[in-house]
Symmetry: C2
Subunit: 305 residues, 2 copies
């Protein structure tokens, strides 16, 4: 299934992924065997969030014999799905840095943005799936070791019979505005001068909209009324689904949680535009296009809220 | 933090929850001790998805001495948060049916809808949190037993140091339309004659919009173009976040996945209205207000898409 950028999400880094997952086919062992035997099959090879690239290029896929040579366990390949032309795509975890190979951090690759856009979505899928397996070798229900099932989309416990599925953590990320002012904050770990949207995990028993309001109140003391969904983004550090929203402030006095944020302010639209354009007099900036926060900011600047 | 129904999500069952979670306070052991000692503290008591009710009423909370008497382990109480008046609310898992007590299935309670709306959101939070602990007594990373941390919002592994957080699974649920026709399907487990929206889990490396398109194509063979977010709903069976969307069909010929669905059809707006109103000549129906699917259908019928 070829995915066109039909919405704002498809235009955000990691948001475009041409892989046809055929989730209904995963239970069929013959499908996995056929995909493994397909001469067009290629795999992404990662160690945590570092991606192996072919020598002298940014090509991040390798034929299956090559990934086995790099040290990947052929029995632990994850079948991501198929490209539109039917070529299978796998993800492979390497146990150690292969000698003589170039590995680049996925966040760096995505920030540079020089690969074809479709590759970032595939790499996000590979990275999140591999991380899940790496952290879920045992059954949370009984403690016994688990094994890969469903072509990589399940882990099975032979001891208690539990089935475990890959985890995706929904995150509310929001640009809250009060007329011509937007609420932006910075964490101590951000680059100096960089301000971004507030964000936090959606919790059990909570709507997305309630999470937008709770996180904004907990971090900044600002009450939020109307919430509008804008776009979503897979965020593979480690396995989040960013749910980007615009929120309307109901209050204006900031009470910042200093454990979460280093600073939090209202910025006028002109100032935000200067931050976006890199022309702010104090050198303040907002996040790069890699981040959905940037797209929430751009949409607000353009009146697309 | 009092939550008003500021959006469509707040008007859906489980979507309204007045509990102030104060997530930043959970790490503070004194906060938990103070909440436990608070005379206003009350707990929901559940066994899986069955809720203990007070004798002769629909009251689902009990003081902490009573829940201990019902068999709950006082050391395993989960602090959900605080009501707007500051009264702490806990969730307690019972090891067995307490003699002489009435237990009612949460889905039944929610379907009846006779409790104050704010209670359903709290019960959803309680049920999802309790289920997560019940299924996560061991470390997925190393297999060792884990212990409760952060007032119930974390499980800690002393063996490998891993921290585990409650899981929430995002689900795409969508009403796909083609002008005056809507795509509805039924699973074999549905009540006879009942048709609903298609749905499926959002996967790692996938946007919400892409999940809407993938699930609709996999289950019904219909291509979807534009996707619009409508509302979200916590769905505590076991721990989903339903992300309700409207989608515009790009194709019309259905190719149903018979493993997933028993039937799937295009229904004209007039027919859907009759299903909603209980006046369909063949007795076909659509889901009750408990389900976000019903709200997606109502919004489409009303032109709120």
């Amino acid at each position: 299934m070829t995915e066109m950028p039909l919405d704002a999400s498809g235009a955000i880094t990691f948001g475009r992924n041409p892989i046809d997952r055929r989730s209904e086919a995963r239970e069929n062992g013959a499908v996995m065997a056929t995909a493994l035997a397909d001469a067009r099959a290629r795999a992404f090879a990662l160690i945590a969030d570092r991606v192996v690239l072919a020598e002298g290029s940014e090509e991040p896929t390798f034929d299956l014999a090559t990934v086995a040579g790099l040290g990947a366990d052929p029995a632990a390949l994850l079948l991501l799905g198929w490209l539109p032309d039917g070529a299978p795509r796998f993800a492979a975890r390497l146990p150690a840095d292969p000698p003589g190979r170039v590995l680049v951090d996925l966040r760096t690759l995505a920030g540079e943005g020089t690969m074809p856009p479709e590759l970032y979505g595939q790499l996000a899928q590979a990275r999140s799936m591999l991380s899940w397996h790496e952290r879920h070798g045992f059954c949370a229900n009984c403690g016994a070791p688990t094994t890969i099932g469903a072509a990589g989309y399940r882990r099975d416990c032979a001891a208690c019979g539990a089935q475990h599925f890959p985890r995706t953590d929904p995150v509310a990320i929001m640009l809250v505005s009060d007329g011509d002012r937007a609420l932006l904050g910075r964490q101590a770990r951000f680059r100096p001068g960089s301000y971004s949207c507030l964000a936090g995990f959606v919790e059990p028993g909570e709507t997305l909209e309630a999470a937008v309001r709770r996180e904004t109140f907990e971090e900044a003391g600002i009450r939020v009324g109307r919430v509008r969904f804008h776009a979503s983004q897979p965020w593979p550090f480690v396995s989040s689904l960013m749910l980007g929203c615009h929120g309307e402030a109901l209050s204006t006095e900031i009470a910042m949680d200093a454990n979460e944020l280093e600073d939090c302010r209202w910025f006028h639209r002109d100032e935000v535009r200067a931050m976006r354009d890199g022309t702010h007099p104090d050198g303040l900036t907002c996040p790069p296009p890699l981040a959905i926060a940037r797209h929430l900011i751009e949409a607000w600047l353009d009146g697309r809220v």
